[in-house]
């Protein structure tokens, strides 16, 4: 057996590869969206697919998101496995009714007769200097919608594995791609893609004993950085990457928090009504007597996503995370 040199790849490349492998493995997999064909998508994630599989498999649609998702529903009814690209987070909103009232519910409405294996890829989050409507974190909407899986990778390998798993899932999956990690690189060998990870398992990205940072997607690297920085303050932080918001991996998260006794939830999405509320609550419900301090949240402010020149003040950064860690009542009980 020869050893293959592991070359660095970007998350975008891993996603492309996942699409390509999924399309090659199953002729039912169809990609559709705005500019996904000839152009290869504005982030080039679908680059080369139309060429390799033809425009009937990777289709430039008219510019209408409800139409894209709505026709994907019909395609799935007929046995296809559509993978839909929404060009940006905020441009998925026109498809909201189709998503909530049909995609999320069709299996349930039909008592399992009509499952919809649709993957909705949504580039999300900020930090890329995008103008308004190009940096929304919309995961709270999807999390609050029963019937959807909500998945988001933070590493190159997970991008591949989770997207394969999403496409293979017989349930609809909202697949959130952190825009600012598209160009993040990792030593991942596209020629030997890992086996497909199951959806629904969180992973401890960095073990630690003082407190747990619970996070996902674009905030994972920030938390890892914060954990490194925290060593100087004498804190050994554990970082849990959720990977899947729905289903939620209570087991891994709670095991970590029970070990450390303290936790901070970190995400870009607005705090109020955001994912952190759910996460902090369920951790508290399950680990109350292991907690030395309330589970804190570090999140985007409760404001419309700000203009690029101000976004660094909005996004949760290392300092803000460390400030929260410092508030975890290390000294005494009140």
């Amino acid at each position: 057996m020869t050893t293959v040199a592991v070359k660095p790849a970007t998350m975008a490349q891993a996603l492309t590869r996942a699409l390509r492998d999924a399309m090659a493995a199953d002729p039912a997999v169809h990609v559709l969206g705005e500019d996904v064909g000839t152009l290869g998508g504005v982030f080039r994630v679908t680059d080369g697919l139309a060429k390799e599989f033809g425009e009937d498999r990777c289709t430039d649609t008219p510019l209408a998101e409800a139409g894209i998702l709505g026709t994907a529903v019909g395609m799935a009814m007929y046995g296809l496995r559509p993978v839909v690209e929404m060009q940006f987070d905020a441009f998925a909103y026109p498809a909201f009714e189709q998503l909530i009232s049909h995609v999320a519910r069709m299996r349930n409405r039909t008592r399992g007769k009509m499952p919809l294996p649709i993957t909705v890829r949504v580039p999300y989050g900020g930090g890329i200097g995008g103008v308004e409507h190009h940096s929304d974190s919309s995961e709270a909407y999807y999390m609050a919608t029963p019937g959807l899986h909500v998945v988001t990778p933070a590493t190159v390998a997970d991008a591949y594995g989770l997207l394969r798993a999403a496409i293979a899932s017989d349930d609809p999956v909202v697949f959130l791609e952190p825009k600012r990690l598209y160009w993040s690189k990792d030593s991942w060998n596209p020629e030997q893609p890992q086996s497909v990870d199951p959806i629904g398992r969180a992973v401890v990205r960095r073990p630690g004993r003082s407190a747990t940072l619970i996070t996902y997607g674009p905030s994972v690297p920030v938390c890892l950085e914060a954990a490194e920085a925290a060593r100087a303050e004498g804190w050994d932080l554990e970082v849990v990457d959720l990977r899947s918001l729905v289903p939620f991996d209570d087991e891994t998260v709670c095991a970590s928090v029970r070990r450390t006794g303290r936790a901070v939830v970190v995400h870009e999405s607005g705090g109020f009504g955001g994912p952190g509320g759910e996460i902090a609550s369920r951790v508290t419900e399950r680990c109350f007597h292991h907690l030395e301090a309330p589970v804190l949240r570090v999140a985007g402010f409760d404001i419309p996503y700000p203009p690029p020149m101000l976004e660094r003040h909005h996004l949760p950064g290392v300092d803000r995370i460390l400030d929260a860690v410092a508030r975890l009542q290390w000294e005494a009980e009140s």
Partner: protein
């Protein structure tokens, strides 16, 4: 060559790239709704077809009456009647082959029934039992669709998928006049035309969206005139003339199956009953208006044609009525049985596999039920 490339490209039309374009003329509807009954065209109609339509109309009217009666007895939560619109409902079902698909709106249980769905299963949703009562794959009838016009892109996607797979399947999608105002109507028709998907869009223009008359819904010459804006033919038909609706839809289905792409059909009809049993139609329309339309009743129109031409006698009428009565009696009997529901079904089919969270909730409800509790009702 891909499916996408099969049709001529739309070319921008200015200098320097002026090109001959799709000719709009053939896409425009006739000035008046197409009619067959009582006209010369009726002579060409197949007598057997007319008799079948008649039997189905009688059955459909009886079905509507029975379902409405069931609401009064508390056996249905709500019923949106298609009384007066039976010609559209029935024709939509009859023009399809077995392999084709029907996409009904919430008002179109009759079309589903005419296509073969068990009436009890068609009414399950309105009974409050489960959201969709039938297996959509059994008769290729999509779930009844309540969010208006959202079923139209589904029909387009399904027809497109079938075409990509090489199956000559046609999808027929039903929507109301009010539904044409929704964005999904627009997006569906556009996708269908660009993809040349084998879809027939049947708009039942019954004059109202609940209380809102068509004049407040659109300023278009006719709804069929919307077709040209998508590059598909628009057809206008008298929706109370079962033979005319059948013919126009048959043509559209044939056109679609042959690869000619989608058609928009506007059937001009009238809802004789209120919007649903819960609606009070006297708030927004006069009895006079309703009476005028009763004189253009689809059953009366067809019955006159058939009897005039000696194709139907008293016995024929009676036998159609008897068959309808039998259907109604059976429906009544079965609807009068209380459905048996299992509360644990709440957690079934939310996902292929319940999430850990749902498993916990399942256990909670099971424990509550074991303890004799009943949710909101203590």
């Amino acid at each position: 060559m891909t499916v996408m490339e099969q049709r001529g490209a739309y070319r921008p039309t200015p200098p320097p790239a002026w090109q001959p374009r799709t000719d709009p003329a053939p896409l425009l509807p006739d000035a008046e709704p197409y009619r067959v009954l009582g006209t010369e065209a009726a002579a060409k109609a197949d007598p057997e077809l007319l008799r079948t339509l008649y039997a189905q109309l009688i059955r459909g009217r009886r079905y509507n009456a029975q379902a409405t009666a069931l609401t009064k007895q508390g056996r249905l939560a709500v019923y949106p009647s298609s009384t007066g619109q039976e010609a559209c409902e029935v024709a939509a079902a009859l023009v399809l082959e077995e392999r084709d698909w029907l996409f009904p709106s919430y008002r179109d249980t009759l079309a589903a029934v005419a296509r073969g769905v068990d009436p009890v299963e068609a009414l399950t949703l309105l009974r409050g039992d489960w959201h969709t009562g039938y297996d959509p794959y059994e008769h290729r009838v999509a779930p009844l669709c309540t969010p208006l016009a959202t079923q139209l892109p589904h029909a387009v996607g399904l027809a497109h998928a079938a075409r990509l797979k090489g199956d000559d399947v046609v999808a027929l999608a039903m929507v109301g006049d009010g539904g044409t105002s929704e964005g999904d109507f627009h997006e569906a028709l556009n996708f269908a035309a660009v993809w040349q998907a084998p879809v027939v869009f049947l708009v039942q223009n019954n004059g109202f969206a609940i209380s809102v008359p068509l004049a407040k819904q659109t300023a278009a010459p006719t709804l069929a005139h919307k077709a040209v804006g998508y590059g598909m033919p628009g057809r206008l038909v008298d929706g109370n003339d079962a033979a005319a609706v059948h013919e126009v839809l048959t043509d559209a289905v044939r056109h679609a199956r042959a690869g000619g792409g989608p058609t928009l059909v506007e059937a001009v009809t009238y809802r004789l009953d209120a919007h649903t049993n819960a609606d009070d139609a006297t708030r927004y329309r006069t009895d006079d208006e309703v009476e005028t339309w009763r004189e253009h009743d689809p059953i009366a129109l067809l019955e006159r044609e058939l009897t005039d031409r000696g194709l139907l006698d008293e016995a024929g009428i009676q036998s159609a009525r008897d068959a309808a009565e039998a259907m109604a009696a059976d429906l009544r009997a079965r609807m009068n049985q209380d459905p048996v529901l299992d509360p644990m079904d709440l957690f079934a089919d939310v996902y292929a596999e319940p999430t850990p969270q749902l498993r916990e909730q399942q256990a909670q409800l099971r424990a509550e039920l074991a303890a004799g509790q009943e949710g909101a009702h203590r």
